[in-house]
Symmetry: C2
């Protein structure tokens, strides 16, 4: 083990599996080199490179028979203050090695380029709560779906949910600029529906359109959506590229960003890191992730860690953001889910509402969902 | 099983693990719904949606005790002719389900929006061969590395490799716009080095800079690089977002794109699909992937399938592209690797050259590598 790194260090934790000590040593040495110099140590002849670029091993600790917690310091200068190169240093080539999982990282406290490189979310918990006018209780959310409806029908559903009092009414992530529900007309129709409902109720429900496409298309959609006065927008950063998110936040977004996990994959990045830390660090104000007990496999413990990573960010100065557990939450589970997450949460229920039946039943259930959350005392 | 789909279908193959028939049935039903409507079947009340949006099961076939090949047709209209939504339909939410692996897909032959949505590579094998002036033999490639050298030193290495006769001299994927080797000066210095060498030798070696950053930064870098006359550029689509690649190719690139696998992860997408089919379909003219027997875990069979997917694309009308196996190919393995891939390949050796020793040894080994490939007869 070396002495502490002489430079501001990006401290990265990997879980490395290895059947024996020799393989473990080789895999650790490979990690030290792969993320920056990508050369065998014997081929490193430059003094500056050896002293200032190669990773330094902090610790190796056995977790079980063949799994080890490996902590490495990489010089923050290796990231070039570039949000794409930052990911490269974290988990570029090593992501292709099946024996490595990216578990966590800590930024150096003295990284002058941090705010320029990774500005983080602009709104976070406080900003979102202000927009929907809900200072304390958990927030409610549902999705407009499925793909294939007419814009008229989607806007009708949007109005129905707003009238029921749901705070955040978002497009399903599959709602793109389809011919049967083109983006611009959908945004206009849904905005009109929430405006009309809000005017009547005095509430501040928001409609959140899904932005999708290549970067120039997404930026056009963002402009349209903001001109129409939407309360937030949704983006799937793993589809669009995480670095793009920082550009949207720093240069274009005047409203909060809801991050969607699509294409996030079982990427060998710990979900509490990917959704709980990376999405917010790249600018997501509220992040959707797969809740325990639903259609996806995360445990209760993992979901707790994801939520805590968002509401109590370990990165100093990073704005706290809202967890948005989803993916098969049943209407009957609302109390349990609320007890688990507490009030700093957006409860997102889609199918669990739609299952209710016709519009009358849907309206009733959505209203009960809203009341349930409003009346919940932990 | 249903009758064949009544609409042009995106036919997707998943490998689904399930411990028993009931779980398998539930997981297949979930896949049919998750990728488009994302609602329980009971909540689907719209006739158009039921008939035209929900996936149709084509077949389920046991592969072994708990692994099954599941083939599903999704209506191509669900993709909205959007390259991001295309990925959503392929593997959006299901990517988060650990029991599902995306194995393959086939485009419908009658998809009018195909060329607009996914134009594919502009240059491919023929275009790249023309640029480097090598009609038949395998192409040679190496990387400029490590991060941390001066631009002067990087350009010196670039010149050395060009003089040794290497066709494609690329930046290491970790070379960003670092303060110690800023992008613009690096591109100018390396371009001068290859130009000078080519003028003396009559060869057409090319320098390939690595583009990295947020979309607007990458487009600026592309412009600089093209203005300086580079032969191709390198991009890591999983870092930048695959949809961005299509925009680069369709609207900005006048040179071939080399796709780098960084952040590609063990994403539960079969590597022959991710690198062999998706990267080219999104516009990569040559794609780097982890060769067998090196620092990464792909088998010889997988690498063969990756290479064949590129050189003999199964998608009608898609330009054939060049496989670029890499990642720990030893100098001594060149003959074996050549025998395996044949001549439609770019052999990329980095560390295996740099290990040789000082510049004299490096020049000698690079020259031998070039001769070896030139003289190879299958």
């Amino acid at each position: 083990m070396l002495s502490p790194s002489p430079w501001p260090a990006l401290r990265v934790t990997y879980f490395v599996t290895a059947p024996n000590q020799a393989d473990l040593d080789a895999r650790v040495e490979s990690l030290l080199l792969e993320q920056t110099v990508e050369l065998p140590r014997v081929a490193l002849r430059d003094k500056f490179v050896l002293e200032n670029i190669v990773g330094r091993l902090v610790s190796v600790e056995a977790m079980d028979a063949d799994k080890h917690r490996v902590i490495i310091d990489f010089p923050i200068i290796a990231t070039a203050d570039d949000p794409a190169q930052f990911l490269n240093v974290l988990f570029g080539n090593s992501s292709i090695q099946e024996h490595v999982m990216l578990a966590d990282f800590d930024l150096p406290s003295d990284w002058p380029g941090r705010k320029k490189t990774l500005p983080g979310p602009q709104f976070g918990i406080a900003g979102l709560r202000k927009i929907v006018g809900v200072p304390e209780r958990a927030l409610t959310s549902t999705a407009l779906k499925p793909i294939g409806l007419s814009n008229e029908r989607i806007a009708q559903l949007c109005g129905l949910f707003a009238q029921a009092g749901i705070d955040i009414i978002k497009d399903d992530h599959g709602l793109a600029n389809h011919s049967f529900h083109p983006f611009i007309e959908r945004v206009r129709a849904c905005q009109k529906a929430v405006r009309d409902s809000n005017r009547a109720s005095g509430r501040r429900s928001i409609y959140v359109p899904n932005l999708t496409g290549t970067p120039s298309v997404v930026l056009e959609q963002l402009k349209v959506a903001q001109d129409e006065g939407v309360g937030a927008v949704m983006i799937a950063p793993m589809l669009m590229g995480l670095p793009f998110l920082t550009e949207i936040v720093a240069q274009h977004a005047k409203v909060p960003i809801v991050g969607h996990p699509s294409f996030g994959g079982a990427t060998r990045i710990a979900p509490e890191l990917l959704y709980g830390k990376l999405f917010p660090l790249y600018g997501s104000d509220a992040t959707i992730f797969a809740n325990f007990g639903g259609r996806f496999a995360y445990s209760k413990e993992t979901c707790g860690r994801i939520a805590r990573a968002m509401t109590q960010p370990s990165i100093p100065g990073l704005t706290p953001t809202l967890p948005m557990p989803a993916g098969g939450i049943k209407y009957s589970q609302v109390a349990d889910v609320l007890s688990f997450y507490g009030r700093e949460v957006i409860l997102l229920i889609g199918g669990g509402l739609y299952e209710a039946g016709d519009d009358q039943a849907l309206r009733t259930r959505a209203g009960e969902f809203v009341r349930h959350v409003a009346e919940f005392k932990k």
